[in-house]
Every structure is written in C-alpha cells, then in structure tokens.
Subunit: 195 residues, 4 copies
Amino acid sequence: MVGTDTPRRGRPRSADADEAILAATLAVAGEVGFRSMSMDVVAERAGVSKTTIYRRWSSKEALVLEALRRAINPLDDVDLGSVRADLETYMAELGQRMHHGKMSDLLPHLIDVATQDPQLRCQLDDYVAQRRAPVIAILERGRARGEVRRDVDLALVADVVIGPYVYRRLLTGAPLDGEVAAELLGVVLPGLRPV
Amino acid sequence: MVGTDTPRRGRPRSADADEAILAATLAVAGEVGFRSMSMDVVAERAGVSKTTIYRRWSSKEALVLEALRRAINPLDDVDLGSVRADLETYMAELGQRMHHGKMSDLLPHLIDVATQDPQLRCQLDDYVAQRRAPVIAILERGRARGEVRRDVDLALVADVVIGPYVYRRLLTGAPLDGEVAAELLGVVLPGLRPV
Amino acid sequence: MVGTDTPRRGRPRSADADEAILAATLAVAGEVGFRSMSMDVVAERAGVSKTTIYRRWSSKEALVLEALRRAINPLDDVDLGSVRADLETYMAELGQRMHHGKMSDLLPHLIDVATQDPQLRCQLDDYVAQRRAPVIAILERGRARGEVRRDVDLALVADVVIGPYVYRRLLTGAPLDGEVAAELLGVVLPGLRPV
Amino acid sequence: MVGTDTPRRGRPRSADADEAILAATLAVAGEVGFRSMSMDVVAERAGVSKTTIYRRWSSKEALVLEALRRAINPLDDVDLGSVRADLETYMAELGQRMHHGKMSDLLPHLIDVATQDPQLRCQLDDYVAQRRAPVIAILERGRARGEVRRDVDLALVADVVIGPYVYRRLLTGAPLDGEVAAELLGVVLPGLRPV
DNA sequence: GATTAACCGAGACGGTACGTCACGTCTTTAA
DNA sequence: TTAAAGACGTGACGTACCGTCTCGGTTAATC
C-alpha cells in the first residue's frame, strides 16, 4: 500500500482548478496560438485568478508544456513481429503528428525558453524521452529476434530515425510521408543486419 | 556605366552604422542570450538610434539572422576521395559548431519566430540550404564514383546525416562526437552501396 | 451564577494570541511603517494564522488602531494651579509625542481609511476625544478660578491649542517646541481673560 | 529676454498628453473617488498609455497631487483694510473649501503616502505654502498698519488660524462656520494687539 | 550656392503582456 | 468551536520590450 507520505496541512490545491487551467490553456491556444495566448485570458477562461496559475507553474511556458503533455496520447508500442513493420507504423504516426499536432507548432518556442529555464528543460526532456521510448523498444525486440546487430548503439539509431523528422519539420519544411519513410528505412536497416 | 541601380539622393546610409549594429548584436546576444537581448540595448551599445536599426532590418529577428550569417564561416567542401572520409570531416566540423557555435544557441528562437514571419522564414531557409549543400555535394561525388546507389534520394540521406545533430542539440542534449559519428556512418553507409 | 453572559461552546480563544498579534503589529510597523506592513507578515511574526487575526479585528486598520491604543499611555492631567502652567506642561508632552510617537506616524493613514470605514471612524474619534479631554479639563478649572471668560467656547480653544500641532506635524513639518509653545500661549491667553 | 536654456533633443513630450492625463485624472476621480481610481482607467480615458503617465509622474499619488493643484483656484488675497475683516473673509472661504473641496477628501491619503515619498512630500509642501501665504500677507499688512505687534511670529499665528481647520476637518469632524470663525478671532486677535 | 531628400541621434509614444503584491475569504486537518 | 496552514478571487501595481513617430540637425547629390 502506498503511503500518502505527507499528511498535508492547510487547504489543498483545487484539482478542479488544475483541470480548468489546463483545459483553458489548450482552448485559448487552439484559437489564437500559443504565442499570442495571454495569461490573463487563460485565467479568465478558466475562471481562476492569475495568482492561482502562477502558484502552480512558474511561467507561461511551463504551463503550456504541461498542457501539451496532457493533450498528447502516447504513441502505441505496436509489435508486428519485424523491425521494419514496427518502425513503419511508428513513423507513419510520428509523421502525422509532426504535421498536424499542436506540439510541433510550438516545440521551437519551448526549446527556446528551456534554454534559460532549467525546470522547463527537465519537463521537456521527459517529453522527449517518452517519444523516443517506443523506437528503442522496437529495436530491442529486433535485437532479441536477431534482426539487429548486438554491437550497435540503439539510442543512436533511434536518433537517426527521429532526427530527420524533427529536422524537416523545424527547418526545411520537407514532408516525411510513408514513401519517404520506406526509403529511409531502406537506407538505415541494411546497416543494422548482423554480419 | 556600372549598374548602381538607383543613384540615390540625400545622405547615404552610414556603412559604419551597419557594422556597429551587427557587432553590437553579436556582443549583447553573447552576453545575455538572444531572447533577453533588447533592441534598446543593442542601439545604445552600437552608438546608434533605434530608428537607424529599423531602417535597415524589419524586426529583431531579421537583424539577428543577418548578424549570424555574417558570423558564420561556411563549412569547407573538402574532397578526400571517399564518401566516408568526406562525411567524417564534415560531421566533425558540424558537431563542433553545434556545440559551441552561436547559431545553435538561438536556432530555436529563430525557428519559433519564423513560424509567423514569412520573410524570416525565407532567410532561414537560405541558411539551412547553405548548411546542407556540402553534404549533397559529397554524396553526388560519391555517386559519380560509384560508391552510392543511383536510386537513392540524396536529399533524404543528407537529412539522415544532419537530422540527428539537430535533434540531439535541440532536444536530447546528447553529444555527437567523432566516435558516435563513425558509428552513425557505420549504420548509414551500408544502405547506400550499389546492389 | 455570575453573568458570564454566553457560556461559549467549543475551544476558547487564546488570550496569548491577542497579545502576540498586537505585539507583532507594533514590532513590524515599527520596522517598515504601517503602510508597508502586511497582514501576512504580522501573522507569521505572531506565530498565528491570518484567520485568527481576522476573527478578532475586522480590518488591518482596526488592528493597527487597537495596537496603538494599547501602546499609548494617556497624557497625565496635571494641575499646577494656572492655565498657563498646565497648558505649557501639556503642550510640552504633546510636542514630544507628536515628534517621536508611533501614533503620529500613521495618523494620516488611519484618517484616510476612516474616511470610508465608519467603525474605524468611531475608534479614531475615541482616540481624539481622549487626547482633547485634558485640555478641556484645564480650561474648565481655569474658568472655575476666574482665569477664563465664561462666554468662550472651550472646545474651540482646545482646538486652537491642539490644531497647530496636528497641522505642523502633518503638513508643514515645522516643530512646536517649548519656546514656540510659550509664544502660542502668549497669543491665545490674552483673548481668554475675563473682561 | 529669457533664453530657452536647454535646446532639448529628441521628441518633445506632448503637451496634449499632459492635459489629457490631468483632465482624465480629475474626471475619473470625480466619478469613483481617488482611492478607487486606477491608473489603467485614467490611461484609457486620456487616450494614452500607462508608460506615458509614469514617464511624467512617479506614482499615482504624484499624479493626483498635480491634478489637484491645477484644479484649485488660489484663494484670493483680499484686502479690506483690517486684519479681522481680511481673516474673516479668508476663513469663510477656507471653511467652504475644507468642507466641499476635492482636495480635503484626499489630503489624508496624500499626507500618508508623502511619508515615504520625498518627491511627493515636496509637492505637498508647495501646496501648503500656497495656502498659507495669504494669511501671512494679511498679517504683514496688519503689522504695517500697526494692528499687530512687531514681536509676534506671524508664521505661528497663521498656523493658529489654519491649524484648527485642518484638525477639525481631519479628526473631529466639527465644522468651522462663520460664527465659530468669529469667535476664534475673538480669542486670537487680542493677543496680537500692540502693547 | 541654394535646395532638397534622405539620413541620423535622441527619446517620447501606444500597445500588450508580464509577473507580483496585499487584502480579506474560504477550506482543509488537528486540537 | 477555535486554531494553523495555506489556497483562492479580486484588483491594481509598476515594468519591459516592441516597433513607430517626431523632433532638431547633418550630409550629400541636384538644381
């Protein structure tokens, strides 16, 4: 049985407020964009005071990041029996989200702010790890099946798969659809085969 | 008559001011970061009025971008005779710059702003193309030498090489030193070989 | 049964808390001034919660006013046998307190707030009456001795004596030391003599 | 001919803005009271940004004080030929204003804030001096005519006249109408007569 | 040489959002 | 029922930065 370590004194923070704030954040941001979203408007929409927001999040960006993390469904960790099939599925989904997802719209902004805000940096790292995890899992299963060389650094391979998506999305604007994904795998997979 | 398109009446713009502003931009940004850099401070440091700055650049970001382009030496397009050797050289240099360079410090910010500023978007695209060009050149030479399959999309391969750098730099913080670069090539190059 | 009107149920109020709050009020106010004194700080200093304070006093000003009334010793009602001697003694003491006393430091603030708070207005009136009482007493004794005309309004005379102190203290900053007090009496007393 | 000492560089401050701000201050304050008047509302009403206000006045109180000084017509320095007549006229007017004037409504507040704001303190002193000046002038003329003793401190007498008004207005609430004013003079004037 | 057009510095300006503060109330658990 | 702790709504505060505008004054090319 997990103990509620600290009995907590004083009035507890309202869980409703948490919910309302995060919901309002997504709603307002969806309408005007995160960049133009103001804390006053979020507070008003949430039926909450700014104080209450700042008591929970240290800055606008911290709030936005958490709102997004809640809004994001984790990528399913499908297992179709081969590295190629698994990665194709994953990459299709990733491509979708990179193109249409809310997160990718403001990734640059979050990264930017995280540069000078260690706390935000941590939260962002969590998010990234969560995104990378499925790829690593796929590769590990592949290795167990003998599809992947033992001596290859799986973390690096994961970055080779995800990196181009981020790069294209943020800097070149080029898409990474299913066809291109297949070609990418055509380049990468041969280098993973044992011997 | 050499085509100085417009003869221009009135007092010509001061070239000194251009220099001073760009220098001040780099100096101030180096001290407090681009995000915290204010135009007022840049103007003061350059011994120039804000009017003079805005007469030349349309926004803070446009200024910053030009300042950076000046500060960046192009990556040399070395030719050592093999794709592997060329890419290793290129990647070593890229890793260096990604880690210590001024540009990478504010890439996120520029990307962010470019989201809503088409003009900046263009300038940024130029920069990116300039960075990608050497990789494509290397791969084309490799193809000419028969080292690289004819049917592979070189632009995609370039993104596979550069993507992980950007990704690690912006999101995971993991380094990409010479050793890792070699391993990356170990994964990617086999997939490029003909037949 | 002796009339403790309400038998009171539940936990009784802590008398210690009263003391601690009033002491903390004077202490904090003495350090930062009443205007900058915050209720949170007082509560913390007193080792008491804000709730406990507000259960006893309806507002910051009400608290402050009571704290001051406790801190103020009444002016002694000396009787030296002549109006001049009595007033000189009274005015010397008044001058002292006006200059160094805590009360005069925040009179303006209390007055200000009393403008819109009838309850505080009453408490303040009590305080004022208490200050004026000795002067009226002095003048009445003088009248009984035949030193003062029967047809003069003693309340008005009291205001003529006290008024300049308040005025100087609040608005001009000029002092009212013994010498000046003597001169003031030199101006006022002749007009009080019978016939 | 008076030289415009400083040639002034940069864009000059808008005189219209000054006017608009002060007018808005009086208007808004007249509607909701000075205490409830907010700077945002004043700015909006004046068609001006808050920055522009704070560039001219360091605080809400400083602004209010200047607005009032502009709104206040100086007390006329009537000369009816006798100290008694002149003072009666002055006191009647002073009594009026003390009762109905805007200034007296917020004197306490200004005094209070001036306690911790030296700049405001100065402005307030100016105002006070301006109010006292007529009384001193009256007394000096009386002295020139031989109505007033040479050895009496006129500044003190002025305070004896004005002090009770301030005192009553701020602390006791008692009025000082014409009748009472006459009685006050009945008390004070005998003490001023030569020999 | 006078005119004119564009430049330059200084700095005021409108706008928009920021994050903070204090008051007095409310909601918990503990005594 | 009171107490301590502390979250909460309200409402204002003063600041920061952006990009624009308005001055007086300067610097060429043109007339």
